[in-house]
């Protein structure tokens, strides 16, 4: 036990994140534009909305983890704040696919530079005072939570098959 175990645990959590992103990319790439425009179930979100939602949620991890500004701040409104079919202007499907690729790769590069100690430091929506009492509100927990969020939407996107 000790630093070797901590590094192993950090790696396990990051590996789960990456493998879900690989799965997302694979699913998105196999679907035609026509498939992505369909609803995952009658009256529910379309594939294209979920694709944009994933880009916007990934993007919001940058400031939350103290890793810089968002690449696509204009995506928060149509893909996080607003539901699907809100009449908002959306980028094209090919543009959304490219943004997913770019933000995923950008996060990977940023993540590769963090030490275990940095992963266990606070994320930026918790104050230093609160973090002292609640040390689980760290950057690594954001990865756990976002991986589960991703898995949740992958389960839905799989229904477009």
């Amino acid at each position: 036990m000790g630093n070797t175990s901590i590094n192993l645990l950090v790696k396990m959590i990051l590996t789960a994140w990456q493998s879900h992103n690989n799965q997302l990319k694979k699913i998105i790439d196999t679907y035609s534009d026509e498939q992505l425009q369909r609803e995952i179930a009658p009256g529910k979100n379309t594939g294209v909305y979920l694709l944009g939602h994933m880009v916007a949620v990934h993007d919001a991890m940058l400031p939350l983890l103290g890793l810089g500004e968002k690449l696509y701040p204009e995506m928060e409104e149509p893909f996080i704040k607003m539901p699907d079919k809100s009449g908002q202007t959306m980028p094209s499907i090919s543009e959304l696919k490219q943004r997913l690729h770019i933000i995923t790769q950008h996060l990977d590069e940023k993540f590769a530079g963090l030490t275990a100690g940095e992963w266990l430091s606070r994320h930026l929506s918790v104050s230093p005072e609160d973090f002292e009492k609640e040390p689980h509100r760290n950057k690594l927990n954001v990865i756990i939570s976002r991986t589960n969020h991703l898995a949740n939407h992958i389960g839905q996107l799989l229904l477009l098959k």
Copy 2:
């Protein structure tokens, strides 16, 4: 860094597992039998199949983690090996709900007794020789992977709303 950090990381992973189980229970409890009998999307799995699938997958964690025999071994065939609508005999919905409750609580009690060192020991589908080379194939990684699997199906079950 050290044992405090390791215990914190273990706790973060177990908390994510538990919160997803709480969410699953909440969703299942709000649905009527009629809702659970519906397909999550046209031609896809029914809610009741996914409910049974979660019980069977949870149950299989017991031997995999070295925590005892399965409580419901007869559920592997209809809910893991076979797809939905395979014509297999299924327990009633109220029986499935009760089994979900029992297996989830049983796992929680077993998990509470494990130390961080035990969580980092091998799960039982990896040999001691392979584990030496691949220390990420430990019991805690099973929890990470099963939490993501659970999140994936929660995303689908939410469509029955």
